[in-house]
């Protein structure tokens, strides 16, 4: 084998990084995609129960969280432009805004789930098993799994953004080496797209 002559920090390939991120995003799309298939089939089989159960969800909270994610997607997209224009303070503030509104999303989710828990609606609860129909139990099961998995992605996205901010601050991510910031952006937009489908399916269609 030939000896590698590059220094470690020379291993930078923006295009390969992007492909790698997209390949990972594809696996995420298939993961959520299958959950959407399960949702569609159960909705088709339990039409009336899904109708009834969805009415229990608060459209307003869902709409606020949709707007939050859309705005945060814009700010992280803009932060890439800021980095390419070599404006480090603006890159950091735009990422900071994204981070903060991402946390607000989770706080909303906490209160939303909390209200459901207070009404005895959580996976495996006695209220669920005794008072609701099979279809409604399925709806809430899917609701908790899909929004829960999505919230987990928000948390991972926030950690990703925090790491990138630290690297931008340290000067390790800059205009000529922006792939990591672009990838955290791609990940955040993926989380946004998933929510774009979760919102109508759980909150809007009643």
């Amino acid at each position: 084998m030939e000896k590698v002559t590059h220094a470690p920090h020379d291993h930078y390939d923006a295009e390969a990084s992007k492909i790698g991120m997209w390949l990972f995003i594809f696996t995420e799309l298939l993961l959520f995609g299958i959950l959407f298939v399960i949702y569609s089939v159960y909705r088709y089989l339990n039409h009336d129960a899904f109708h009834l159960a969805a009415a229990d969800l608060d459209t307003f909270t869902g709409a606020v969280n949709t707007l939050i994610l859309l705005v945060s997607s814009m700010t992280i997209a803009m932060s890439v432009t800021a980095l390419q224009k070599k404006n480090k303070p603006l890159t950091l503030s735009l990422n900071g805004i994204t981070f903060v509104i991402g946390v607000v999303f989770l706080v909303n989710k906490y209160f939303e789930w909390g209200a459901k828990f207070d009404h005895g609606i959580f996976p495996g609860s006695a209220t669920l098993a005794e008072t609701l129909s099979q279809g409604e139990i399925l709806f809430f099961g899917l609701y908790f799994i899909m929004t829960g998995l999505h919230a987990l992605h928000i948390i991972i996205g926030l950690v990703f953004i925090a790491v990138v901010m630290w690297k931008v601050a340290k000067g390790k991510v800059h205009a000529e080496r922006s792939a990591l910031l672009e990838n955290s952006g791609l990940y955040w937009h993926l989380v946004d797209i998933i929510w774009i489908f979760l919102f109508p399916l759980f909150y809007l269609i009643v």
């Binding site: 594809f26 298939l30 937009h189 797209i193 774009i196 399916l201």
Partner: protein, 94 residues
């Protein structure tokens, strides 16, 4: 435009896209408020598809990416659509 190596997207493009996304969100809330019967699901999903198309094209930079990346993304979404169609063919005709 797409052949530039490092295309810098102006801030205003992102602001316009956000405005479009917010309008589409409000429209989808308004339209599902009406009783459209079996078309409610279709209506809401059309808005979601248009919104994710905007996010993919502008926020996720696909508009400025090389064709092979667009083809890969399109292929994966096509797989999803095929999976959904085949599943429903099964459930509708069994």
């Amino acid at each position: 435009m797409s052949d530039e190596k490092n295309h810098i997207v102006p801030y205003r493009v992102y602001a316009f896209v956000l405005a479009a996304l917010v309008v589409l969100t409000l429209l989808s809330i308004a339209i599902t408020g009406y009783d459209l019967g079996k078309y409610t699901v279709a209506g809401a999903l059309i808005f979601a598809v248009v919104k994710s198309f905007l996010v993919l094209t502008y926020f996720m930079h696909l508009k400025y990416d090389k064709p092979y990346i667009k083809i890969m993304v399109g292929f994966v979404f096509a797989i999803l659509v095929v999976t959904i169609v085949v599943t429903f063919l099964d459930y509708l005709y069994r």
